[in-house]
Subunit: 653 residues, 2 copies
């Protein structure tokens, strides 16, 4: 007798390759589709190249170009040509620059109920709106998905949110997810999939659900899932893809691990205050504050309706004198519909500044607010400085609230438009003829293996890393507790442009801690063949940046030795073949000085057969016991010099 | 008996305040209107503030925001708020960000036949298309125009170009001016006003003439002038300004100093090769080269027709896979018309990327081409690296050629569209109802004197400079011949953002020559009260950058001593109160070493009464005779410590 399953469980069960569906246990699932965007995709393509992949093994993979569109120099356009040629090489679709945000375009043309999707973008879960299991992941994970490998994750709990009632006038999907963020804050859904169900779904369109699924990421959720119901069928039909629809709903009597309920009828306009998506209050509580900017669009309010409602609100009116009214369309297809159905006309006539379809200001690529001024945005995040302006003051709102505030010049509850302008809430109807345009999505060419990958001067190749070997090398850096990946390899405008150029970006390794690290590492590589670093607790915390492992490895890092590690940083070290040793006796940390020479003998045997190794301090004449906690899969990767080598070895055999 | 006058002479005569209309002689003319854009306007506003101006004395002044729209951090938006508040303070109109390129918007709403216009943008002559005398000028010159002072220039010769015939199909105004550039190259019209006349005018609309007038700048012309005829009346009527029209044509029998003739019927599509607008050949001669980009719009092809023809060409087709098809609309009003009349629809549907109305890629603010790839652009300039990409390969073409090439992916003569796609040349008709929208042009507020100027953290105040005094200071730098303003104060992304911040930008003074100049200047200021610099021939050549005088002055530069000076650099030194001394005996240059202490006594008397002064080398115990060639006006400025001080003194008395 099979148990009644919810949508999440059905999606996982149908793709399960390893493990069992017990919350907290590691499972491996098959990935049907992938998406990559340009900011992370360049490294994914270099990884595929290093893996010597013949051809994508997925049902469908698509490379989008949505982040770096400003092209203030050659680096962005060179990346675009590189990505197009690499997509052709590996049998991956290519969405041309300006064709729009990955999530929305994928939803229009590729997302399918019942499928799994891995994307190198944290908002990939947005396509959970269509009964899909859509996971954000690191670049290398997505590269392995493209290569047909399983995706590993901890089996999540399922948080079932029952939606009842119907959204009142002037309240929309963004207010729903802001209410969820008010309840769960930015960490409350960690280890969980949020699955929405119940009669309240009837009044939420697929793109409304996209808004809600997108920002599940902000609660720390593994992903968000909606059923594939008649509304999803309607949406797919609108995009000429009715034939790809399949119904996917929870079984009668399906259960959830955690329960919540949200009565849509009781909602009112909500707003996230600076500088966290979790700082949510009612708009009423902060209304009246003057604003510099009203910014509508992005992955978090991507639907045609979201622009349509803004246009209806500002129609025949003019944006307030002091407001920069910015429109960030989501996709070329939506722009075409906006133009055809006068949405664009009303927005432009009211004073809107129209930007390219893409991520734009949401990730600080343009339209930063003025110093000390308030910016109202429909984007998913308002973390400090994300807008590009130091100590910014960004509020997250619905398109209704943003448009109302654009007119008044201050934070305005859109319900006040009834009194202020004698408006009643415009009732949305889908355009009778919705334009579908797939022309800017390029199918991979035939005979991709013959395609030469185009590399501009700033695009290198993934370096070859050798197998694990014994070493006798100096401790090049001794660090304290809580060293973050920002200290290992800092972010920022000076460094990020080199993300496709390992030799160049490696020059910034550890510069936050030691300006001469690169020169010293080069010397140590010449003299000793490499170096190690020693750190305290929680080494490599923070951002999941893979470069924080690749770059030190490129400089000859033979091992890291620390009291403990942060999870993702630890995983990245393993992936790129740097053994992450831990002190068995933490007090040994105090015995080692920067400059000491450390030796390890029989390291391959230690890793293969046991959990510990011996570190010989040649300088001091002492020894320390160190351990690792590698799984069998990971031991193999470390021995091979990284997972890419393991992949190549398997492929060859 | 009055002589028959051409349009140029009429415009100058009706505004002549000083001098006589003899070519080569200095004249002073009254300026009716000014325009400033944001990249140069911030300094103009700081200068007006330093001049303690009450209110603009012009008939009309307008501050545009068209260059810096990308807003990758707080500096652009802070500048916008500063400019808006300063415009209000001084009684200047303000064109909101995204409202479009100054020249086109000014033409739509403000330019008037028979008036003079000074603009802090080199393409200001574009409005010569409407029977206006429109001059590009330095920021301080425009500040003085706003303050009601005369504009000084050398009386130009008038080059009369007789236009005959009618443009063939697939050939348009851009080809006309490219043909002119083929004839005159980038310096051939220096010291001249280009005045077009003749029966060929009948087939050129006002915006066609705008194209031609805009790029007169590329030939080095003082400006370009067209008559104000019935076509200009039609254009002004279309913009609801028929009442501001006045006819202005050359008198019967008017003469020109120089003559040329151009038969439009004989023209064919032309193209300027990299990297100069003067490298013009026929498109046929270079057809077939693969392109990365087709870029349509900017100040050099700003008219509605220019976008319309591109849309007609690409309608129901798709831009070539390998081409970035970029559309840079000129003004919000033109966007509205493009949207209303399906021009935008056809462009977007064919794959175009639509950008904000503004200068954009034309000045390297976005949409840079990929490394080593060809970019076809309708912009006015293709100087090396201007696109943002080092060693770029930019070609200048008409919208017809750009659109045809966008479809084929290679440089294509648009006449080939007849065979390739069975097209005949679309005949342009003005839209029956042309939308006019002045909402984003903000009239200055009443009571501007009460307005507080808003300054973000990167906007300073013009420093106060003291009157000319005797000095005894070290030679802080001894330089060779041909030192350019780029060496005095370099350009580039690191420096330009500080153009509204004199204390900050001054730190970059002379860094190209000496990395420690700023520190040494600070020491000399503390110890001696300042410094002097010594240079060879042609000092301060190159770009007209005013900062190359302001910044050294801010660091305490008491005088420059050189063998000779470049004209504009010399003028800027005078304007900001640095006496530009010349060696009477050039061999004295060799006698001075860096570090020598130079003394000047009775300097005020020397400047007031004579043409020479004595420089005492305290270190060497020698003396040198130096001279200057200041006019009376300039002597006063030098004595006062700069023209701003002179202005304030006069205003007070």
């Amino acid at each position: 007798m099979s148990k009644a399953l919810n949508v999440t469980q059905k999606l996982i069960q149908s793709h399960l390759i390893e493990g069992a569906m017990n919350p907290g246990e590691e499972i491996g699932i098959r990935i049907d589709q992938t998406l990559t965007q340009d900011a992370t995709g360049t490294l994914v393509m270099l990884e595929l190249e290093a893996m010597e992949l013949d051809e994508a093994k997925t049902e469908l993979s698509c490379q989008y170009v949505d982040h770096n569109l400003l092209q203030t120099d050659y680096k962005n356009p060179d990346d675009h040509l590189f990505l197009k040629s690499a997509a052709d090489r590996f049998g991956i679709w290519y969405s041309r620059p300006g064709n729009g945000v990955s999530h929305a375009v994928h939803g229009e043309h590729f997302a399918r109920p019942g499928r799994t999707l891995a994307g190198s973008d944290s908002h990939t879960p947005a396509n959970g709106c269509m009964g899909m299991f859509a996971l954000g992941a690191g670049g290398l994970d997505v590269a392995f998905s493209i290569a047909g490998e399983a995706m590993y994750l901890k089996m999540p709990k399922v948080l079932g949110v029952k939606l009842t009632g119907k959204l009142p006038d002037w309240v929309s999907a963004k207010d729903v997810v802001l209410e969820m963020l008010r309840r769960y804050d930015v960490k409350g859904a960690r280890g969980m999939v949020i699955e929405y169900y119940g009669p309240g779904l009837d009044s939420l369109s697929t793109m409304d659900r996209h808004v809600i699924a997108n920002m599940g990421t902000e609660m720390g959720a593994t992903t968000t899932v909606f059923p594939a119901d008649d509304e999803v069928k309607r949406f797919m039909k609108q995009n000429n893809r009715e034939n790809e629809f399949q119904k996917l709903t929870a079984d009668e009597g399906a259960e959830y691990d955690v329960h919540d309920e949200l009565n849509l009828s009781t909602l009112e306009p909500m707003i996230a205050l600076p500088s966290s998506p979790g700082n949510v209050v009612k708009v009423r509580e902060v209304e009246g504050k003057e604003i510099y900017q009203s910014y509508i669009g992005s992955s978090a309010n991507p639907g045609y309706r979201d622009f349509w409602i803004a246009a209806e609100i500002v129609k025949d009116k003019t944006a307030h004198d002091e407001v920069s009214f910015d429109i960030n369309p989501t996709s070329r297809q939506i722009i075409e519909n906006m133009v055809k159905h006068d949405v664009m006309f009303h927005l432009v006539q009211s004073g809107a500044r129209i930007h390219q379809a893409g991520c734009n200001g949401c990730i600080g690529m343009g339209q930063a607010p003025a110093t000390g001024r308030n910016s109202l945005r429909t984007v998913p995040r308002n973390f400090p400085d994300r807008s590009g302006t130091p100590e910014d003051s960004v509020f997250l709102v619905s398109p209704e609230t943003a448009a109302a505030s654009a007119l008044t010049g201050k934070i305005t509850d859109p319900r006040d438009l009834e009194d202020l302008f004698g408006m009643s809430y415009p009732e949305f109807k889908e355009p009778s003829k919705y334009i579908v345009n797939k022309e800017m999505l390029k199918k991979p060419v035939e005979n991709g293996k013959d395609v030469e990958i185009k590399k501009g001067p700033n695009i290198s190749t993934m370096p070859d890393f050798e197998e694990l070997q014994d070493f006798e090398v100096p401790v090049l850096l001794k660090m304290d507790d809580n060293i973050s990946t920002d200290e290992i390899l800092r972010a920022g405008a000076e460094v990020l442009p080199f993300r496709s150029n390992i030799p160049e970006i490696s020059k910034f390794s550890f510069t936050v801690i030691d300006d001469n690290f690169y020169e010293r590492a080069m010397e140590a590589r010449d003299e000793y063949g490499g170096h190690v670093v020693v750190a305290g607790e929680n080494y490599a915390q923070g951002s999941s940046r893979e470069h924080a492992a690749i770059a030190p490895r490129y400089l000859g890092q033979k091992a890291a030795v620390a009291k403990s590690y942060a999870r993702i940083g630890w995983q990245n070290l393993v992936n790129f073949g740097i053994p992450p040793f831990e002190f068995v006796n933490p007090e040994d940390y105090d015995e080692i000085d920067q400059g000491d020479i450390l030796r390890v003998e029989n390291i391959r045997q230690s890793i293969e057969t046991g959990n510990s190794a011996e570190l010989i301090n040649v300088t001091k004449g002492t020894k320390y016991e160190v351990k690792h906690s590698l799984s069998e899969r990971q031991r193999e990767a470390i021995l091979d010099g990284g997972v890419i080598n393991t992949f190549k070895k398997k492929k060859a055999s």
